[in-house]
């Protein structure tokens, strides 16, 4: 079984209720109608999108809502506890997939994983990219030194602009199949996101007079 295509969406699984063959992404058995547990699929395969960095956000929303509607707890009030539990776990898997596809950071990490690369932002990984780290160090120092909201907002604007720039660069890198570049941009994006998080904390501290 190859995971390169994001899972075995075409291979038949057996329905837990009637044992009939069903596809991995199926929410319900087309024979007996039983709700199906989530199979091991990645976010693209689960929501039925091609593995590309550029996505149609409105289309993801639409498809996700359509699928979630079919799993709504109200539809399972007269079903067995087992079916309610299956519907719930399927709904949670769809949530995870939705969040992955909607977030450029998670989407990029998944695409690198699909290409057989370990995520550059995975646990226990350390990097020694001087340009990237020097910049990260400088902005964190500037943020630590910022004593008023105006100074914090200026850094916030820069973080937001860099965030957008990284996402654009990720799109270009994946589009050109340049995975090393994509990997580096993903790392940079992670650092800018971390800065944005720190900015929120700093803003709150200043607002509460902790300067």
């Amino acid at each position: 079984m190859t995971e390169a295509a994001g899972g075995d969406s075409g291979a038949p699984h057996a329905c837990w209720s009637c044992h009939g063959p069903i596809t991995a992404a199926a929410l319900f058995c087309h024979v007996c109608g039983a709700v199906q547990p989530p199979r091991p699929l990645d976010a693209f395969a689960r929501l039925g999108f091609p593995g590309r960095f550029e996505v149609d956000a409105a289309e993801i929303d639409k498809r996700y809502r359509g699928l979630q509607q079919r799993l709504h707890p109200d539809r399972f009030t007269k079903r067995s506890p087992r079916e309610r539990a299956i519907a719930e776990s399927q709904a949670m898997s769809l949530n995870d997939a939705y969040e992955t596809l909607k977030d450029p950071l998670k989407r990029a990490a998944l695409l690198l994983e699909r290409a057989g690369r370990s995520s550059p932002i995975g646990e226990n990984r350390t990097i020694q990219d001087p340009a990237l780290l020097m910049e990260a160090m400088e902005v964190r120092e500037a943020l630590a030194a910022a004593t008023d909201l105006a100074a914090v907002e200026a850094i916030g604007k820069r973080a937001a602009a860099e965030d957008r720039r990284c996402i654009e660069a990720l799109g270009a890198a994946f589009g050109a199949g340049e995975l090393d570049k994509a990997s580096r941009q993903l790392t940079a994006l992670k650092y800018w996101r971390k800065l944005a998080e720190e900015i929120r904390g700093r803003r709150a501290a200043i607002a509460h007079g902790a300067g």
């Binding site: 646990e123 990097i127 780290l133 990260a136 160090m137 964190r140 971390k194």
Partner: protein
């Protein structure tokens, strides 16, 4: 999650915070990062003619465990020769601070920072890097 007294002490009273002159040929600078948590750590050493680390400074933006790990690292390497300092393992740091398993990577970062600083010093002074310096875990 409970933290050890040693860890809390290094976090609340970090030793050797600051910077050395990057342009000084006797100063080696190591800059490393852990992207998973967005941590960035700078560790600098000032090396005497005898190859002994006379001074060490660090600056870390990260969690308490990362700050404590780098603080302890600077304390340990001061007074050691660069060859000795290079043998410090992340597990020594993790053990000393009783780092919880989810924070082990903070000690990895400190070990990498020591090695990077030593490598930078050697490169500045035309010395070949010791083969062990490249053995950092991926």
């Amino acid at each position: 999650m409970t933290y050890s007294a040693k860890l809390i002490d290094h976090y609340e009273n970090p030793r050797n915070v600051g910077a050395l002159d990057k342009g000084d040929p006797t100063v080696g600078t190591g800059l490393v990062g852990a992207p998973a948590c967005g941590d960035v750590m700078k560790l600098q050493i000032k090396v005497g003619r005898d190859g002994v680390i006379e001074d060490a400074k660090f600056k870390t933006f990260g969690c308490g465990s990362a700050i404590a790990s780098s603080s302890l690292a600077t304390e340990w390497i001061k007074g050691k020769s660069i060859d000795e300092a290079e043998t410090i393992k992340n597990t020594d740091i993790a053990q000393q601070l009783s780092l919880p398993p989810v924070k082990i990577h903070c000690s990895v970062l400190a070990e990498d920072a020591i090695k990077a600083a030593i490598r930078d010093y050697r490169e500045k002074n035309g010395q070949a890097a010791a083969p062990a310096a490249e053995a950092a875990a991926r």
